[in-house]
Amino acid sequence: MTDANPPSRTGTDRLGVSTVADLCAELEANVAEVIVGHEDVVEHVVTAMLGRGHVLLDDVPGVGKTMLARSIATSIDCEFRRIQFTPDLLPTDVTGVNVFNQQSREFEFQPGPVFGNVVLGDEINRAPPKTQSALLEAMEEEQVTVDGDTRELPDPFTVIATQNAIEPNRTYDLPFAELDRFMKKLHLGYPDPDEEAELLGRTVGHHPIESLEPVTDRATIVAARETVAETRVERPVREYATRLAGYTREHARVGVSPRGTIALLRAAQARAVTDGRDYVIPDDVQTEASVVLPHRIKAGDRERDGATVVENALERVSVE
């Protein structure tokens, strides 16, 4: 685990905790103009973005996954890219390709759709593993290598991938090891009847996404991510996270990896900041654990799935 309390970098672009908290509230309110309900999911996506994480939305089609990604991208005034994964999609279709320019007689790099601030990888499980891994490598390293040349991805870089839960025989399930690279796996689910009625009312005419205005800019988000990264995580909290991970390792076939623990604490940091605190409390960890940990766990025979294991862990692991 890296030092959870890095030395404070003095920079003009650093924002106060309360500023970031306000910003998040504003952001979420803005997104709520498009996305009806699902406040918790929106909040999770925002905190994942601030915690330098990527999100996997696991859902049936048509519940607003794309709309969520788009509205966030619009709200922060960042470049939104979308990759529709299909069985014939090639890795270079994701990363980009060197093209021979007849005029300059040189190869020129044509950046792929991955070069965006908010990248929506739609139905990622429909593409073959090779193509999937192109995106996943980009997520992990925040850079892309094409024909030996390494190119940095823009900052911020957040992937919101969606996974189609139906049609299982025509999909390539994400390998367990690569699932680990998503900070959170979320479910949108169907809206409540009330919410759906509201949604219909809003979208029946002009779609609100068209008129959505940004509430902040790219630089502010970068600064906010800095603030989150500096949020204090004291030893008792770190130990608590370790105990939770330890519990999953003891009670499942495959437990949470150290990468998972790091992700958990990063998410908790973002959560603490959105609550206006510059320190993480166990509650932050608890809130994030239910979305950060389950997809990293391969449940044993006794537990139904990873979520059950995490539930048990939260119920049994001592906080202090």
Partner: protein, 772 residues
């Protein structure tokens, strides 16, 4: 069986290998020590026996050998084999005992019921010392329990190992040989062994031994206080022991053991009257075994059935008619009683020494006739009696305690240096004691061997001391002697009538002369004794005590002999008292008379107020005068025993307090209402929250381990109707900042503490319930 034992073996080996760790190793050691202590407790009781009758060395060697054997064989043989071996060893021991006593092993077949009844007699309170062959019995008894208990202890079967030791100790308790302390120590050791064994087996920690400590303390305090309570069967003599405080009590209650006490008083009451042709010492008890501080009568009594065998030599028959004037537990008779007449015959029992004893105490007015064969050999005859003692006599009447010092023997040899025959030796010792030791009833009982102390250190004593010392000295010179108790002839009121009072209680010595039998010797200087005793009677008469005289005894002088040349402490007193006798007879009702009458010549001031005398007019004058101060000091100063008991009780209290966790609870309760401010605001803020949590635990529910502080408060707010005090939020926030954040400042911490103080006080009775 074999596989089971094998697996146990391997278990045990593993445990030994892990002995380096503190816990089980320590308990193992403790448990083994406890078993050893238990063993020591009953061996010490047996050693007390062998110290008297001899064989201590053999006993200890035997115990040592058994311990070594058990250690060596612990892993070589199986428990069943060991048990069988122990039983066989025990059986062989008893066979040896039977052979030794001349009964032969075949008696097992012919008289098994007799043996059984013997065992029953022992188990129902026959002390070991009263057995004729106590030493052999002891040696036969000891190996089996020692071996078996140590064998089991070495094997780690502590609880089982306590059983044989416990049975041995229990048996000795039943025989009455094991005193309070060995019993207590043995019991505690047994419990300790079981407890430590359990703690070892279950991997307990030292902190868990507190229950054991509390239990120990409880047992010690209970058992010791039970015996300290007056009226309990405690150590007589400490607490108004009316029996042991009188010479009679010491000398004779027809008991089988005669303890030698300290200062004694004499009751002037008339005990019995004798009608006999000639005066004699009236013997009531015979003792043969000396244990250093007591005389023990070995052997059993049998019912009187026909004439008792008399002395071998020439005897004169003396017929006596004895009438009890009070309740009498003895049957006084001139030695050697041979036949008893009258209706009391059926209640008469005969000791192995030929002394008669009543089965039930005689009551006032009971009468019996007894015929004695009195021997009166001349000095010349005794001179020529020789030393050809029969074996039974030599075996039984030459016993001295094992620890008798060489000095005692050397001094005896010195005193009897010129004496050639046993008779001369006896006379020399008699003369020596009479001439060098003073007579006094005020004696501090020496510790250890009384005979030795009296010969070598003490200057004065009373008949018990004289007789004991003489008997032991002669035994040291290989002359068979025995210690006898009884009464002197008493006040002769008629030609053939003697009135015997409590003051006449006496002890003297009988020496065995082949061809003649037992001959009485009197080592006590008679003059000082008589005067001291008569004085008691006179004083009692003055005080108007009842039962001092019979109808016929009042007018007759107590004794023909006048005080001789004794170094008696208050000769003038005796003179005065004697003079007052006439007056006393004329007006027995007035207690103040003597002062008027004897003003002139009674040099002793004697300011003692004449109180309505207690029955037992044995108030010690010295104590009455200035004794109250000493008594007070004595009462205030705490004896060592009491201090020990208090200490043990305290330890037990501490242990039980520790056990119940009362200290922690008290501290927590106090801590709920009051928090000390520390230098560290973070710590204060954290502790303030902890207090809040405990308050909430009482008013709502405790926090679960998996609940975070915030989650707990939120859950409480949701669960309960009245919710949680909003100020709790502040405390929580400060706590989080202190523990997880950058810390809190002093004011923040103080505010937290103040809030919790307030919340706690609101809970106090009288301040009203918060929220209601």
């Amino acid at each position: 069986m074999s596989t089971k034992s094998d697996s146990q073996t391997s278990d045990r080996t593993i445990e030994i290998a892990t002995d380096g760790s503190v816990g089980p190793g320590t308990f193992r050691l403790l448990a083994c020590c406890c078993v050893l202590v238990l063993t020591a407790s009953y061996v010490s009781v047996l050693r007390d026996v062998t110290r008297v009758v001899g064989g201590t060395e053999t006993l200890l060697t035997l115990v040592g050998a058994m311990l070594v054997a058990a250690t060596v064989l612990a892993w070589a043989i199986r428990p069943r084999t060991a048990t069988v071996a122990a039983v066989v060893a025990g059986a062989l021991g008893f066979a040896y005992y039977l052979e030794y006593t001349g009964l032969g092993v075949e008696v097992l077949l012919s008289a098994g019921d007799v043996l059984l009844s013997d065992a029953a007699a022992l188990a129902t309170g026959l002390p070991l010392l009263r057995m004729v062959e106590a030493g052999v019995w002891t040696l036969a008894f000891v190996p089996a329990p020692v071996f078996l208990s140590w064998y089991l202890a070495v094997r780690g079967r502590y609880a089982l190992g306590v059983v044989p030791g416990g049975i041995a100790l229990l048996f000795l308790v039943l025989t009455g040989d094991a005193g309070t302390i060995p019993t207590l120590v043995g019991t505690l050791a047994g419990i300790g062994a079981v407890g430590c064994g359990e703690l070892e087996r279950r991997g307990g920690s030292v902190a868990q031994a507190d229950l054991l400590a509390a239990l120990f303390a409880l047992i010690v305090v209970l058992s010791l206080t039970v015996t300290v309570i007056p009226g309990g069967s405690g150590t007589p003599g400490h607490f108004a022991g009316t029996e042991a405080g009188t010479l009679e009590g010491t000398i004779d209650h027809a008991s089988d053991r005669s303890r030698i006490g300290g200062s004694v008083d004499l009751s002037p009451e008339v005990r019995f009257t004798v009608e006999a042709d000639q005066a004699s010492y009236w013997r009531t008890g015979v003792y043969d075994r000396f244990a250093g501080d007591e005389w023990v009568r070995t052997g059993d009594r049998s019912d009187y059935s026909g004439p008792i065998g008399g002395p071998p030599g020439e005897t004169e028959r003396v017929r006596q008619l004895v009438t009890a004037e009070t309740t009498l537990g003895v049957m006084p008779a001139a030695p050697q009683p041979v036949s008893v007449d009258g209706e009391f015959t059926q209640h008469t029992r005969v000791s192995s020494h030929g002394q008669i004893h009543p089965n039930n105490p005689l009551v006032e007015g009971d009468t019996y006739a007894v015929e004695s064969a009195v021997i009166d050999p001349g000095a010349a005859a005794l001179q020529g009696a020789g030393t050809d003692y029969p074996d039974p006599i030599a075996e039984r009447y030459l016993q001295t305690p094992e620890d008798t010092s060489n000095e005692f023997e050397a001094r005896t040899a010195e005193i009897t240096a010129d004496a050639d025959t046993p008779y001369e030796k006896a006379v020399a010792i008699e003369d020596y004691l009479r001439s060098t030791k003073g007579y006094s009833l005020e004696v501090d009982r020496p510790t250890g061997n009384v005979a030795e102390a009296f010969l070598l250190e003490m200057d004065e004593g009373y008949c018990v001391y004289f007789a004991t010392t003489m008997a032991q000295m002669l035994r040291a010179e290989d002359v068979p002697t025995r210690y006898v108790t009884g009464y002197t002839s008493g006040q002769q009121v008629d030609d053939d009538e003697y009135v015997v009072r409590g003051t006449d209680a006496h002890a003297w010595v009988e020496v065995y002369f082949p061809g003649h039998g037992w001959v009485a010797f009197e080592p006590t200087p008679s003059g000082p004794r008589d005067s001291a005793h008569n004085e008691q009677v006179e004083r009692a008469r003055e005080d108007g005590a009842e039962d001092v005289d019979t109808d016929s005894s009042e007018d007759v002088p107590l004794s023909e002999e006048e005080p001789e040349d004794e170094p008696s402490e208050t000769p003038s007193e005796i003179v005065g008292n004697n003079e007052s006798e006439d007056w006393n007879d004329s007006d027995p009702d007035t207690g103040y008379g003597p002062d008027n009458e004897t003003d002139g010549n009674d040099s002793s001031p004697e300011p003692e107020p004449v109180e309505p005398a207690a029955n037992d007019s044995s108030v010690t004058d010295e104590e009455d005068d200035d004794g109250w101060l000493a008594a007070l000091v004595e009462r205030l100063s705490i004896s060592r025993e009491a201090a020990t008991v208090a200490l043990v009780a305290l330890t037990g209290l501490v242990a039980s307090v520790h056990r119940t966790g009362a200290v922690g609870r008290l501290r927590r309760t106090v801590g709920l209402y009051w928090q000390r401010r520390s230098d560290d605001p973070d710590r204060d803020a954290e502790r303030a929250y902890r207090r809040l949590e405990r308050l909430l635990a009482v008013s709502h529910r405790p926090r679960e381990r998996s609940e975070s502080a915030r989650g707990y408060l939120e859950a409480l707010a949701e669960e309960s109707d009245e919710g949680v005090d909003p100020r709790a939020e502040t405390v929580l926030e400060r706590y989080e900042r202190a523990v997880y954040g950058g810390g809190v400042d002093r004011e923040g911490a103080d505010e937290s503490m103040a809030i919790v103080d307030e919340l706690a006080r609101e809970r106090l009775p009288g301040r009203g319930q918060r929220g209601n």
